[in-house]
């Protein structure tokens, strides 16, 4: 069962990178993860903190189902990480109400257990909801602290021998005869450059995937798509508040620990490093958030933050190997580098599945047949990462 | 633990709360009293060298300098005592919600006792 002779380098210490490290380490590979900042310093750390029930993507039954299945798996393998209070989709306008039948039908098709609740019950469950609400549907959403989930994946990976190197940034690749033969890394702690010589390299840098891939002379069709989130100074509920309609701006409020977060907007940028929250987006969040829960406009804003989603751009369908409707693994052997692959798209909730598919891909590529076990074993708690 | 750690954490005053400053003063007065005890042992030990040596040493403290030193020692004792009572109460888990008030009362008591003591030292004992 030992496959320690095969060294795999994962670039990116977000939730995807940490989950991939766990999946591969569990399969017996020797895994190293390099991350330019601290773990979770990119997009995944800055997520909303929503454990998706899938209902937000219900228009695409397949994607919704995938989310729900991952939601169930994560609750099982790491119950200590999630506030499992469910969520409510509420209709406020006539337009919202028209969406309800479609929503319920799609949930049924996706086999996501939902329940319509009366207006009175919804307001008893969550007194801060807009009293004008016309309909409400309960869904199996959850919430989490993003960093602790990432650290738990990392702790689980470490348990099986994976090594994490935060503050280590990839600054170049040495490519020779259609292979990456060396990866140049800048160690920011010791301020020196060194070279790693892994057998296979995985680019799990999400919104930064193209920036990293270009160092090796290949391109990744990722569209960094930032969204603004507004954290309130106070917690206004337990169940996630969603607008019962097509996903749009400011249509969700997620609660975790002592705060509630209103999200989100969406636009596209060239460079995920240069993003600032536009003031009008913040105002829009407060306005739209108050439609869900009027108390939003009365609370102080504790923080405004922006996170760049790694959306799959045009061209991925033709150059990539589509393993799912929501994420893509790009095999760079098609671009002339045989030991290099990138993964883009996906959601925080589906990180384990992304890692499983990436693990399958790598195992097949390296001629090893061993399946993923991440969905069966309980995860290690985050504090073990520090031992 | 190094002495440097103790100084930079126990006796950090900048940006610290009344509770922490009081903690620091409690520790400091405790240390001063420990040194005083040592000094006191030395001063009693001079008796072995004969009553004259002892009186000579005591005369050192009879003048106005003595008032200052006695007042200082009294203040140290009182502060350590009142802050000690405050800390004993909260450390047993009582009045935790009112600790600020309790602490202010402790400081006011300390000041009153110090003034009273200094009055006695100056007017009664001399």
């Amino acid at each position: 069962m030992e496959r320690r002779d095969k060294e795999i380098l994962v670039i990116g210490g977000g939730v995807t990178g940490a989950a991939i490290a766990y999946d591969l380490a569990l399969r017996g590979f020797k895994v190293q993860v390099v991350e330019r900042g601290s773990l979770g310093a990119g997009t995944s750390g800055r997520t909303h903190g929503l454990l998706h029930s899938g209902c937000r993507y219900i228009a695409d039954v397949e994607v919704a189902r995938e989310c729900y299945e991952e939601n169930v798996i994560l609750r099982r393998i790491a119950p200590f990480l999630f506030e499992k209070n469910g969520g409510l989709f509420i209709a406020i306008t006539e337009d919202d109400l028209k969406y309800k039948d479609f929503f319920l039908k799609q949930c049924e098709r996706a086999r996501i257990p939902v329940r319509e609740v009366s207006r009175e019950e919804a307001l008893r469950l969550e007194p801060n909801l807009n009293p004008e609400l016309k309909a409400a549907v309960e869904v199996p959403d959850g919430t989490f602290d993003p960093l602790k989930v990432i650290l738990s994946f990392a702790a689980s990976a470490k348990k099986y021998g994976a090594e994490f190197r935060p503050y280590n940034e990839v600054v170049g690749f040495r490519v020779s005869d259609g292979r990456i033969v060396g990866v140049r890394v800048l160690d920011k702690v010791r301020v020196r450059e060194y070279e790693l010589t892994p057998d296979f390299i995985i680019n799990a840098t999400g919104a930064w995937a193209d920036k990293v891939a270009r160092l090796a002379g290949v391109r990744v069709p990722v569209k960094p798509s930032p969204g603004v989130m507004v954290a309130l100074d106070g917690r206004i509920g337990y169940m996630v508040f969603n607008r019962l309609n097509k996903p749009g701006d400011g249509d969700i409020i997620v609660h975790h620990r002592g705060t509630s977060v209103v999200g989100t907007t969406s636009w596209v940028v060239e460079d995920p490093d240069i993003v600032r929250a536009p003031q009008d987006h913040v105002e829009l969040m407060i306005k739209r958030g108050s439609e869900l829960a009027p108390i939003v406009s009365k609370l102080r804003v504790k923080a405004v933050y922006v996170s760049s989603r790694p959306l799959i751009g045009a061209g991925a369908a033709t150059t990539g190997r589509e393993v799912s409707r929501s994420f893509a693994i790009l095999d760079h052997s098609r671009d002339g580098i045989e030991n290099f692959a990138s993964i883009i798209g996906g959601k925080f909730t589906t990180a384990r599945l992304m890692a499983e598919k990436m693990g399958d891909f790598v195992a097949e590529r390296l001629g090893v047949s061993v399946r993923s076990k991440t969905s069966e074993l309980p995860m290690s708690p985050y504090w073990l990462y520090f031992e | 633990m190094g002495l440097r750690d103790a100084f930079t954490s126990w006796f950090r005053i900048k940006g610290r709360s009344l509770e922490h400053v009081s903690f620091a003063i409690r520790r400091l007065t405790g240390i001063i009293m420990a040194f005083y005890l040592l000094g006191h042992l030395v001063d009693i030990t001079t008796l072995l060298a004969g009553p004259e040596a002892y009186s000579q040493l005591l005369n050192l403290f009879a003048g106005p300098m003595g008032v200052v030193i006695d007042s200082f020692l009294w203040a140290v004792l009182v502060i350590h005592g009142t802050l000690g009572i405050y800390s004993a109460i909260v450390e047993m888990g009582f009045l935790l919600e009112h600790r600020r008030k309790l602490l202010v009362i402790a400081w006011i008591c300390a000041l009153l006792f110090i003034l009273l003591g200094v009055e006695v030292i100056i007017n009664v004992l001399r």
């Binding site: 602290d145 960093l147 620990r257 504790k302 031992e387 | 750690d5 954490s9 922490h20 903690f23």
Partner: protein, 223 residues
């Protein structure tokens, strides 16, 4: 506004203070400014961050002499004459620059395995109540360890937030280590933890309540 951000650097055993001049809006968080410095001015600047909204506890640091979460601290609120001095948390081993090794805190968890979720009940009416769960307000940021004079000088001390989590979990039994000098008896009521806590978790009060509960026998010690 123009700000002077002075950062304590620590690289390979050497300490220095670097000054960066930055243009920033006073309502911007200190963390956003630090991140911008790391992208635009010095990519070797090492600091820890993740959620940027006061939930994950990664970005605790000493800002102008006081422990704060950089993500929920507006630069305009803390700058003095346009100067902001950033140092790593105290009481931890510094990895580099502003990043510290939090194993001094998380490494103690295995002795007590605290619960992460607070169990609550939402009463709908007299007959019906619904279970609710909530991640503790405590972010595990390490600010209380940095503020605590005991944690700074007694490395074996379990520490304020961990003891507070045990106290808040309401368990009727606690492991032996909690009832020792490493546990509740290590606290000497300096309360700086409670004053500095960015989420008002009150570690100091929680520790002393637990101590009282252990003395009175309401909480039993085992092992």
């Amino acid at each position: 506004m123009r700000y002077k951000v002075v950062i304590r650097r620590y690289k390979d055993g050497r300490i220095s203070f670097d000054t960066f001049e930055v243009e920033a809006n006073p309502s911007e968080s200190v963390l956003d400014v630090v991140e911008r410095i790391s992208i635009e001015k010095d990519k070797t600047l090492v600091f820890e961050h993740a959620c940027h909204h006061g939930v994950c506890g990664a970005c605790g640091m000493v800002i102008n002499g006081v422990e704060r979460l950089a993500c929920i601290t507006r630069i305009g609120d803390v700058a003095r004459n346009g100067v902001v001095v950033l140092e790593p948390l105290r009481g931890f081993k510094v990895i580099s620059d502003l990043a510290v090794d939090k194993s001094r805190m998380f490494g103690r968890y295995r002795h007590v395995a605290p619960s992460t979720l607070e169990k609550l009940e939402l009463r709908l009416n007299n007959a019906v109540s619904i279970p609710r769960e909530k991640l503790y307000d405590c972010l595990e940021c390490g600010i209380c360890y940095s503020a605590c004079p005991i944690a700074n000088t007694f490395p074996e001390y379990l520490g304020p937030s961990l003891l507070a989590l045990i106290s808040r979990s309401g368990n009727e039994r606690v492991p032996r280590v909690v009832d020792s000098r490493r546990g509740v008896w290590g606290c000497h009521a300096a309360f700086e933890c409670s004053v500095r806590c960015p989420v008002n978790f009150k570690p100091g009060e929680s520790i002393l309540k637990l101590r009282r509960n252990i003395i009175s026998g309401r909480v039993r010690v085992e092992g």
